[in-house]
């Protein structure tokens, strides 16, 4: 595995590991780590550093809906023009073009159900290219982006063993 690859894996798992610790882990000078990270930031391989937050635990309930959208593609521009329009809405968290029964998969976030329903009814469905929408409200998140989200009973090791 290349140094670049290793650095990406370390940061993907924990973006707060210091350059100094990464340098120790990989046995290379800290300047080299900083240089590699900077270069990958410039190339936009590293796009940004975020925090995984359990908002529910913080006391803020968000409402999510996954919406399957059928589109009438435009000549020459296919699905891109409608996608570019949709992705600018801050309510839209994820937007994917998919194969199968539907064309676009949209994940919408709102503070309450009314907000999400309003977005679908007023912003999404009336677009001329949109031929149909199917909205699934999210009931519970189990796993998101590779992280298991609900608290489980942790298996405990004995405090000392030989």
């Amino acid at each position: 595995m290349s140094k670049d690859d290793e650095i990406l894996r370390i940061l993907e798992d924990n973006a707060r590991v210091s350059d100094k610790d990464i340098a120790t882990m990989l046995d290379i000078p800290v300047e080299e780590v900083s240089r590699i990270i900077k270069s990958m930031e410039e190339q936009k391989i590293i796009r940004k550093y975020k925090t995984v937050i359990n908002w529910e635990k913080f006391g803020r309930e968000k409402v999510y809906a996954m919406i399957d959208v059928n589109i009438h593609p435009e000549r020459d521009r296919g699905y891109d023009s409608i996608a570019e329009r949709l992705m600018r809405f801050s309510e839209v968290r994820n937007l994917f073009l998919v194969s199968g029964m539907y064309d676009l998969f949209v994940l919408v976030e709102g503070n309450n159900m009314k907000e999400v329903a309003g977005f679908v009814a007023q912003k999404l469905a009336p677009l001329p290219q949109v031929t149909s929408t199917t909205t699934h409200f999210l009931l519970k998140k189990y796993k998101e982006d590779g992280d298991i989200l609900f608290d489980r009973e942790e298996a405990e090791r004995q405090p000392i063993s030989l």
Binding site: T24, I160, S161, L162
Partner: protein, 386 residues
């Protein structure tokens, strides 16, 4: 008069018992004292075992263990080390390396036979030898020799009673490894004195520098060696209790006899999980090894930064720093560190008297815990001695 047999009575209970109780009575302890992975067994391995239970695999297996598992292990060992063992009669599935070691000793030692055990080393070898009626003879290893057993030191301890030599590399607690050259030097005296080698290679996959050499892969050593390995460390499967022994048909049959009458077989659900592990667990092992390797570097560097000299461990998941500069004994240091800074480590002397003046710190712990434990140790060092 005690009703307990003499040879059992004279073996003390493990030296960490009182530590264990002390840790349990305290809150917020960071423990680098644990001798097992901090990973949970990978899900696909657990799932394979659950699936086998669902299908009703709840019976005894062959005394040797499930044939398919023996075949898979045999294949893997051949692929990794180019040593061939016949899965029919040269492989025995055991309840961990712990049982495998006990069987090996009982199979080869006659009353009064001497067994050479390099120390510091894992704590079971000496008691098991005594329980089997043998006499442990300690070969001390020292930091100056990278905790490798020196051939002359081994040779000095050989008498006409010497039956076996225990090798345990990568080593718990020192992290020492033996290269091919080191092992070849040992093989020479094994040949000369016709010793049986019991080689506990449970940490073979956790080797961070160079390649692990399997002792029985050396020229002529296959017949003299009982090769022991298991699933506990590499696959994070300590609680499953499954391991194996490989050797000549004669030795394996002898070990199987004891196993047959005392254990019958290893639990079937654990054998099913082990089968999944050997056949499809390589990627998990590689990922865990990568993580251990990173943590090791952080731990060793921090130990040196706070002023403790530390031998570079190239295997297992332990660092074994010297605390001789503090003037404290291993026990004093470990007890005070626990009481005053709530960091649990294992005093080196429990692994043999040559471990006095050292501590065993496991880096099978999270990066955060390692950093916090070392910060506390640094503080402790500022006031613990003058």
């Amino acid at each position: 008069m005690s009703g307990i047999a003499e040879r059992v009575r004279k073996v003390p209970v493990s030296g960490i018992r009182k530590f264990f109780d002390l840790v349990l009575s305290m809150d917020d302890v960071i423990s680098l004292g644990v001798g097992e992975p901090d990973f949970i067994t990978p899900w696909h391995i657990r799932e394979a075992s659950i699936y086998s239970l669902e299908r009703g695999h709840t019976m005894y297996t062959s005394n040797y263990g499930i044939l398919e598992l023996r075949e898979a292990i045999s294949e893997k060992v051949k692929e990794s080390y180019n040593v061939e063992y016949n899965p029919e009669n040269e492989v025995l599935i055991t309840v961990g390396v712990s049982e495998a070691f006990d069987l090996a000793i009982r199979a080869v030692v006659n009353p009064g036979d001497e067994v050479l055990i390099p120390e510091p080393s894992y704590v079971s070898y000496k008691p098991c030898t005594i329980f089997a009626g043998g006499k442990p003879v300690i070969v001390e290893t020292i930091e100056e020799n990278e905790f490798k057993p020196v051939v002359e030191d081994i040779e000095k301890k050989i008498t006409e009673k010497t039956k076996a030599l225990v090798l345990s590399y990568p080593n718990n607690p020192t992290g020492a490894t033996l290269g091919k050259g080191d092992l070849e030097d040992i093989a020479d005296i094994v040949r000369e004195y016709d010793l049986t080698v019991i080689s506990d290679e449970i940490y073979d996959r956790l080797t961070y520098k160079g390649e692990h050499t399997c002792f029985s892969s050396l020229n002529g050593m296959r017949e003299n060696t009982v090769y022991l390995n298991g699933f506990s460390k590499a696959y994070a499967m300590t609680g499953w209790r499954v391991g194996y022994a490989m050797s000549s048909e004669e030795i394996i049959e002898a070990m199987m006899k004891i196993h047959q009458y005392s254990m019958l077989c290893a639990p079937i659900m654990s054998q099913k999980a082990a089968l999944e592990a050997v056949t499809t667990g390589d990627r998990d092992v590689e990922e865990m090894v990568r993580q251990y390797s990173r943590r090791k570097k952080i731990l060793v560097k921090r130990l040196r930064e706070i002023g403790l000299s530390c031998f570079e461990p190239d295997g297992a998941f332990y660092a074994f720093p010297s605390i001789k500069s503090t003037g404290l004994s291993s026990e004093e240091f470990a007890t005070r560190l626990l009481e005053e800074e709530k960091v649990a480590v294992v005093p080196g002397n429990v692994f043999g008297s040559s471990g006095e003046g050292y501590l065993r710190l496991a880096y099978a712990a999270s990066h955060e815990d390692i950093n916090e434990a070392l910060n506390r140790m640094e503080r402790f060092l500022t006031y613990s001695h003058d």
